[in-house]
Symmetry: C2
Subunit: 368 residues, 2 copies
């Protein structure tokens, strides 16, 4: 990931020039290489939505400065880049990341919890219950770092020492909203602060919509807690639905404007109703943790048990090495499957996304 | 319907002997005649759940006494008997009815609004909004006459002079709950009080479940406003779902026990979320009254537009005589279709059930 890789530098330089949400750039890079695309963009022949922010010559200096401040960059194809972001028609060209977690690993088992800035006490209470329960169960809580539901979701995860990821609509070095300076610092200390915008970028209006698509694509499901009918949270839910992610909404009083968007998502069957974190987990894993009966299988791609043939031989060996009752440690499963613990964990993460396995305490087991 | 019809008297006598919910009796009557089945039941050779309540010899006297008190009896096959009750595996053998409406006609355009006896102020408010809106739109509000949500639903309909139907788990002459004596009298004055139990029957525990199946089958859809997870209202919803009726639930705070059953129905996708009467009507008719786009077509049998061939020539003429925008009066439609106004109204009711037409103001129009 370090070292002078010219293709990587060109990709980051491109990410500093092209506005997030511009479609087709990643395919173009795959076809022609980042250097060619960068030259085209610089010549203004491509990408009408180009905004000048940082010249390519400045990129190495920026990277060095960011590294000093604890910020790294990951680009598509690198180990820490979450491959599910490539489900987007306009995936990020690069992600600036601050924090001690591995982004790809944390995102594999993550849920977005989003909602209104102007939330009610009810919405805040429901957020703390849902996000706190998810974080206690080891799920990373993804949100946007905004006032209201977003902040309640991050804080609930932090409060129990659980993982949380803030995806910003500005540079990771920009404190927005300013009042969340300390909150974002805490998230960066124990979780992750992420942005596809280069450092110094301001939170322009259209960047919130672009950011919402990253939240939707990064996480395995999105829970909307309180939202008005036309709101950022509803747009995140729509993007998540387009991407085949699990979309959930917390029901609220039909007399409350703050719940009008969530209740509408439920009425339109765009979201499943969830009342607590157990219901969220049951929808995400296909294991009904509260009742012990299988729920709806879900996840990236929504692979069902009938697709076992699609698994690699090694993945099938890991699956076969898991108990269907109780739980086994990663080391024990790795031993039985004759794979390294690191490979075993990677397979487990992918099998979990397919709804085939789940964490149980500190170990793993097969889903029914 | 009047006059000494021995088969009819035998059927009513049977209804006075057999406990509601006993399966197979209506089929048996169709095969062997009510007289034979009655003799078998009296000889205790059939129907283990028989309870002695009224000897057949007493039936003519009871009918005369009930007629003096404004109570009529309708049996399957008669004009006022709602044929959708025959969707039940154990349809009522007879219905005792008090009130000025025609039961079959009112039930054709009816919605059950049910819920917890121990409701909250929120539940009562939501009930008044939903049931009041439905009644204002000409829908008969069906409920069970109980405390809480049921009473709020009936009262909301009465308050705007709309139709409402109370289906009791006791005889129509028994005031239960006693505190609803005046409410049931008001419903009988302008709507309908209905029971499959003969006069004088007490509200025994199992009769509430049997009554719930009648509410579910009678109405085109069931809205549950507030309910605990294991409750009569949830059982009504389950029966309605089995019968292919539209099942709806009003979302409520996930922090409220009174909404735990409704939110669970939503989570399990057993019910569609509804926030107001417009959303209810859109699900029942397939016409989205709030947005003007087609929703889910629904109704008894769930006939879609592709089944136009199944309509009689006269029904098709009525349909063709309707405007797709604006509205026409029954008389105007009858004139264009060359049918009597009474026949026209009957066809309109049946077409409405199929989701093909809907009321618009004081007239009618075709659905999109």
């Amino acid at each position: 990931m370090t070292g002078p890789d010219p293709e990587r530098l060109d990709m980051i330089a491109l990410a500093c020039l092209v506005e997030p949400g511009t479609p087709g750039i990643v395919e173009l890079v795959a076809e022609q290489g980042a250097g060619v695309v960068l030259a085209q963009v610089r010549a203004q022949r491509r990408a009408s939505r180009v905004v000048g922010r940082l010249d390519p010559e400045q990129v190495p200096g920026m990277l060095a400065e960011m590294a000093r401040r604890g910020v790294r960059v990951v680009v598509p194809g690198e180990a820490e880049f979450p491959s599910q972001l490539l489900d987007l028609p306009e995936p990020p060209l690069a992600l600036w990341v601050r924090g001690p977690l591995d982004l790809r690993a944390a995102a594999l088992r993550s849920v977005a919890v989003v909602g209104a800035r102007a939330c009610t006490a009810y919405g805040e209470r429901a957020t703390v219950a849902v996000a706190g329960g998810l974080a206690a169960d080891g799920w990373a809580v993804v949100s946007g770092g905004a006032f209201g539901i977003d902040a309640a979701a991050h804080r609930a995860a932090l409060a129990i020492g659980g993982p949380t990821i803030a995806v910003l609509a500005c540079g990771v070095d920009v404190a927005y909203p300013r009042a969340h300076d300390a909150l974002l610092a805490r998230i960066g200390d124990s979780g992750l602060v992420v942005s596809e915008l280069p450092p110094g970028s301001h939170p322009l209006k259209h960047r919130f919509l672009a950011r919402n698509r990253v939240i939707a694509a990064l996480s395995r499901g999105t829970v909307v807690v309180e939202a008005a009918r036309r709101s950022g949270a509803v747009s995140t839910a729509s993007r998540a639905l387009e991407l085949g992610r699990v979309v959930m909404a917390v029901p609220g009083p039909v007399t409350s404007m703050a719940s009008s968007g969530t209740n509408r998502l439920l009425h339109e069957q765009m979201a499943r109703a969830v009342s607590d974190s157990d219901e969220v987990v049951s929808l995400l894993t296909g294991c009904d943790v509260s009742l012990g009966v299988p729920g709806a299988a879900a996840g990236h791609g929504g692979t069902g048990p009938e697709d076992l043939d699609a698994l690699s031989a090694e993945a099938r060996a890991v699956l076969a090495a898991l108990p269907s009752r109780g739980a086994s440690s990663v080391e024990a499963v790795a031993g039985r499957a004759a794979v390294t613990p690191a490979a075993c964990l990677a397979h487990l993460g992918l099998l979990e996304i397919r709804g085939l396995v789940r964490r149980a305490g500190s170990g793993w087991r097969r889903c029914a």
